[in-house]
């Protein structure tokens, strides 16, 4: 996928859509990169499902505390203003609609907003974690993903073939090639990389795309 953005650039692009003062949950893996691109003069409060608000950056090696970790089990820090709470309270925040946005990875996203990101079917150990709660609970569910799989198969599809995480939950998909809203009419391309013709973007997508009238070029520093 040399036509598109790097993962760092996609993370940067998502960071631009985070509102000042919002409460954000970043999923495990790629979405964690988003935290690196928030301007220092803005306050976004990060939530971690294991009972933390006000999560700060990774600590220096000598400051690692095993009892201060994020959902991905990695060491973190706590910012002034941070708070600790138990798991039932933490998921009350998620399920109760208090998280302004979450950023999740995906295996597949369907044009009706269905999300599949926890299981590839019968093989493997079925592990769901907090993904289903985030999918139904966050006010905005943003997906960060490569536009296609490593084998070149589309991840944006008419209907998910993998087991669902949540039906009709995705608001916006950020890929290396485009920023795409899920609308009642299906996938709406709001931004796309300029060096790739729209027809080629469509070819790499498993469902019909509509190009927004006011679409912008997708660029990132």
């Amino acid at each position: 996928m040399t036509d598109g953005l790097t993962r760092q650039q996609v993370a940067w692009r998502i960071a631009q859509d985070m509102t000042d003062g919002s409460f954000v949950n970043l999923g495990i893996g790629q979405p964690e990169l988003v935290a690196n691109f928030l301007p220092e003069d803005r306050e976004i409060i990060f939530h971690s499902e294991n009972g933390i608000l006000g999560m700060g950056p990774e600590p220096a090696p000598e400051d690692i505390d095993e009892e201060l970790i994020n959902a991905g089990k990695k060491p973190i820090t706590l910012l002034p203003g941070g708070a600790i709470f138990h798991h039932a309270d933490s998921f009350s925040m998620i399920r109760g609609g208090h998280i302004d946005a979450c950023v999740l990875g995906a295996f597949q996203i369907a044009e009706n907003g269905d999300l599949a990101n926890w299981s590839i079917g019968s093989s493997g150990v079925p592990a769901v974690g907090g993904a289903m709660d985030l999918a139904v609970g966050a006010k905005r569910v943003l997906v960060m993903t490569d536009h296609c799989t490593k084998k070149g198969e589309p991840k944006l599809v008419e209907k998910c073939s993998y087991p669902l995480t949540g039906p009709g939950v995705v608001n916006t998909v950020y890929t290396d090639l485009a920023v795409i809203d899920v609308t009642p009419e299906g996938f709406l391309v709001r931004e796309r990389v300029e060096n790739l013709p729209f027809e080629e973007l469509q070819n790499r997508t498993g469902a019909r795309l509509t190009l927004a009238n006011d679409w912008h070029p997708l660029t990132a520093p």
Binding site: D20, F23, H47, L53, G81, A83, H98
Partner: protein
Amino acid sequence: MGKTCGVSSARSNESEAGMIDKIVASVAEAVRNIKDGDTVFISGFGDAGNPTELVHALIDQGTKDLTLVNNNAGNGFVGLAALLNTGRVRKMICSYPRSSQSIVFEDLYHAGKIELETVPQGTLAERIRAAGAGIAGFYTPTSAGTPLAEGKEIRNFDGRDHVLELPLAADVALVKAETADRWGNLTYRLAARNFGPIMCMAAKCSIAQTRKILPLGDIPPEQVVTPSIFVDQVVEAPHPMSERNAILNGERYP
């Protein structure tokens, strides 16, 4: 953010553009956007935890046709009772609207001028929490087989009847805290905690009056009782009225 109240907050000295500041300058400003017809949570149990200054500001503001949720129904002629006395409250939801000094409510009730929904205290608390926690309904054994379960779905689990109860949300929560910071983290003092934490969870806009506003980071993270995400506005009220003394002195508001 987290929730939006549509209130532009006065910025405290500590913060700058791009920084979170939920501190507002006055109780009047805090309650400004409460609208006619709103459902309003009011924290407190007995003399502990009543956000009297916010309630008085709401009286001054003049909103009408309110539904109020509190454990009780006010005492004397201050705070909640004074708000009821304006005639602007359509309905009261509470567990125990009876006390030796619950004069205003009892008069309104017997005159048919206010609607009452009596809810068992634990069910009231759990319904509020459910609204904040994204739970669409729950089964409790409380009130099964009593008149308060009439008209509600009854379901037997393990040989015991349970009542389906639905979440109770509000447009606004008015609560009394002890300390707060500009992100909206709260602590409460002793039995003034009561309904405050769960009411903040379940209102579209949660407003806390607090004895002290502390610099961000001064509330130890493990001692935060209501995390910032549940709070929208914070206003300092360093010397809250003692409703108990006010009632003993025969005070009335306004």
